[in-house]
């Protein structure tokens, strides 16, 4: 089962959902905090859900306050970078570029994609952590160079 867990994690990297920062977080796990990455991920999804809600509300109002939207997205990008959420981070970057260009349609389109990537990552990580817990203490898989 540990092999299955390792393969699932590898696929998250191979498909670009996660980057090296996730591995950095796994290196921080120890006996005192064996579920540190899962806990931080839970924090991230809770915090990012709040940001998504804020941005949704701001976009629904129809008036595009690009400075405010950019500010929300700056926070979102920061959190995503910190846990290694690579695809989500990329969409955050695109959104911010559209904000700077004052491109409302681009913002809407990118935000839709961002929510998709965020939701996909959430489901994949939930599945991964669930299996990891079932498999028991795991060794950290190494990315092939």
């Amino acid at each position: 089962m540990q092999r299955q867990v390792a393969l699932i994690k590898q696929s998250l990297f191979d498909q670009g959902y996660l980057d090296e920062q996730f591995m950095e977080l796994e290196e921080l796990q120890d006996d005192a905090n064996p579920n540190f990455v899962e806990e931080v991920s839970a924090l991230y999804f809770k915090d990012s859900a709040r940001l998504i809600n804020n941005i949704d509300q701001a976009l629904e109002r129809g008036s595009f306050d690009f400075n405010r939207l950019d500010s929300y997205m700056h926070q979102f990008k920061g959190s995503s970078t910190s846990i290694g959420a690579s695809k989500v981070k990329a969409e955050c970057t695109k959104f911010r570029e559209y904000c700077r260009a004052g491109n409302a349609e681009g913002c809407l389109r990118t935000f839709h994609q961002l929510k998709k990537e965020h939701s996909t990552l959430r489901k994949k990580l939930e599945h991964y952590f669930q299996l990891a817990r079932q498999a028991g203490p795991k060794e950290t898989a190494r990315r092939p160079k």
């Binding site: 950095e24 931080v40 924090l43 910190s82 290694g84």
Partner: protein, 135 residues
């Protein structure tokens, strides 16, 4: 550096303050410090960092985010230096263009690292401040 090779600086009795409004970053930065044996506390913005010092607390190291509500990292760093706080302050931010970095450094930082913070970057900060000597 493998997990087993990480230095344990607990004997140094270093203390640190994490100043960041983002809960994810707070958690990660605290964990990074704890892994190296550095006792630490966290506050959510620059004003809380200043208030902590006004109440008499002091730290060897401050990890200062730049963008925070109420009082940002630049304002807080300036204020702490005006108060005579000589702690080592490392700016840690995602904003990395030269102009923003220069402004942050000129506020009174001792070092600057781009987020995300990692063990390597933290060790680099500690090494620069002579808190950690690589053997």
């Amino acid at each position: 550096m493998t997990r087993e090779e990480l230095p344990n600086l607990a004997e140094s009795k270093l203390t640190a303050l994490v100043v960041d409004d983002n809960f994810v970053n707070q958690s990660i930065h605290q964990k990074l410090l704890a892994r190296l044996g550095i006792t630490n506390e966290v506050v959510c913005n620059g004003k809380e960092a200043v208030d902590a010092h006004c109440s008499g607390r002091n730290y060897d190291l401050i990890l200062m985010d730049m963008d925070m509500p109420i009082m940002n990292g630049i304002q807080a760093t300036k204020r702490l230096r005006e108060m005579g706080i000589e702690s080592k302050i490392a700016g840690v931010t995602t904003r990395a263009n030269e102009g923003e970095k220069k402004e942050f450094m000129e506020a009174g930082l001792n070092d600057f690292q781009e987020k995300p913070l990692t063990i390597s970057k933290l060790l680099s900060i500690l090494h620069k401040f002579d808190f950690y000597v690589q053997t």
